[in-house]
Symmetry: C2
Subunit: 222 residues, 2 copies
DNA sequence: TCCTCTCTCGGTCGGTCGACCGAACTTGCG
DNA sequence: CGCAAGTTCGGTCGACCGACCGAGAGAGGA
């Protein structure tokens, strides 16, 4: 395997990602990918065998990057609410980078394509296992999470993120539906628990404003 | 417009729905739809003009059915927690009927197709507006929803449902990720608030069991 | 040197796609 | 009856799809 200036295989993967962001999974074409990568069409099949294997290779690569960053983040020795806020910041980054779009396209493709479904299920399972462990740690450190088991709480937050991502990709505007601020508020909930503070006081807690007047940006972190 | 035994237009719509459930939006083909409907291919374009207009007609029909049932349900004079549980029951029905799949395919298609995106955004906005009103009523009747505005709480629950649906469609198995029981627990939270009961006592509250041993079915209602 | 393995290349296969056409059929009205 | 509008029909257009082919370039070892 010779490493050319920019490896052909890498260029194909990146072009696939680019076309996926532009046209979605439904509109993905091997010819457009080849054109964008600047390589002959036949190179796609030489390096990956098939269109399906190509897209799965892309998915796996995104997967690995996600897991690596994720475990690095949660290994930090910080208050839990700060780590949660960092997760919210990551969401903003990932929306901009196209990461979220790729994941959601994978997810949707998995409904019809069992092979893709298996890959995505593995990815999301790993993510859930990590979040559930964090939730268990939280319960150990500062008590019960209401009526929820740690696993249920982790599932709920994770799925709220998944759903929020899908809606943000659809272009829901800021004032209409307070998607971002709703997710950020969970961090506030965690912080109140963690610091044993009186919820009615709130540290630098933002005012609760109705969504038609509220800015739907980050409400806690800058 | 003559009404034949089964109207051609209706048969095409139903066939479109059927093929969408089988192949997903990415794999939807007008020829397969025509074959399933038992009509010539040209009928699709005569009645709907284009593939895009056909799929949007289907989406709109599902939309109308959803809104009708939704408003009927929330108009009931029942405790809020009972109405929430009914919403959870609807989720089970809609998963089985293919409703959820159609909605989620619409959602995903909207990421790439602006016209579809507009339709889906309108649908989901109506849904959110209704839920937000319910949340405002809840806050009026039994006080603050933690750090959340009613609109944020509604958004959070709605998005948790959207995300949960996507994952359930992907085939997440019951014991691995307690998706259903996590959603059901929210009803418990509402009930405790609504009845002013001590959370630690709980009415017929199910035991909190770790997810590897818990059945992930309905945890409150049968 | 020559042989082999890896990789690149242009070209083309059979098939499917959405869209469109003109002719024929049905229905209702005068 | 004759006419017109609404509907159904088989057939076909050009474009695009994923997959595959054999030739050949280039590097590295024997």
């Amino acid at each position: 395997m010779v490493d050319v200036a920019t490896d052909t295989r890498t260029r194909i993967i990146e072009a696939t990602r680019s076309r996926l962001l532009a046209d979605g999974y439904a509109g993905l074409s091997t010819r457009k990918v080849a054109e964008e990568a600047g390589v002959p069409l036949s190179q796609l099949h030489y390096h990956f065998g098939s269109k399906g294997a190509l897209i799965i290779a892309l998915f796996t690569e995104e997967n690995d990057r996600l897991l690596e960053r994720q475990s690095r983040m949660y290994a930090q020795d910080k208050p839990l609410w700060q780590r949660y806020e960092q997760a919210c910041d990551f969401l903003e980054d990932d929306l901009e980078s196209g990461y979220v779009r790729v994941l959601q396209e994978m997810l949707a493709a998995g409904w019809s394509n069992p092979e893709i479904g298996d890959v995505v299920r593995d990815l999301l399972t790993d993510w859930y296992v990590l979040l559930a462990e964090v939730a268990r740690e939280a319960e150990r450190r500062f008590g019960s999470l209401g009526p929820f088991t740690p696993e249920e709480f982790a599932t709920l937050v994770a799925n709220a993120f998944i759903g929020s991502e899908a809606l943000l990709l659809l272009g829901f505007e800021r004032p209409v539906m307070p998607i971002r601020s709703a997710l950020r508020r969970i961090g506030l909930l965690i912080r109140e628990r963690e610091e044993g503070a009186d919820p009615s006081v709130g540290h630098q807690a933002p005012p609760r404003t109705p969504p038609n007047r509220a800015a739907d940006g980050p409400v806690v972190a800058g």
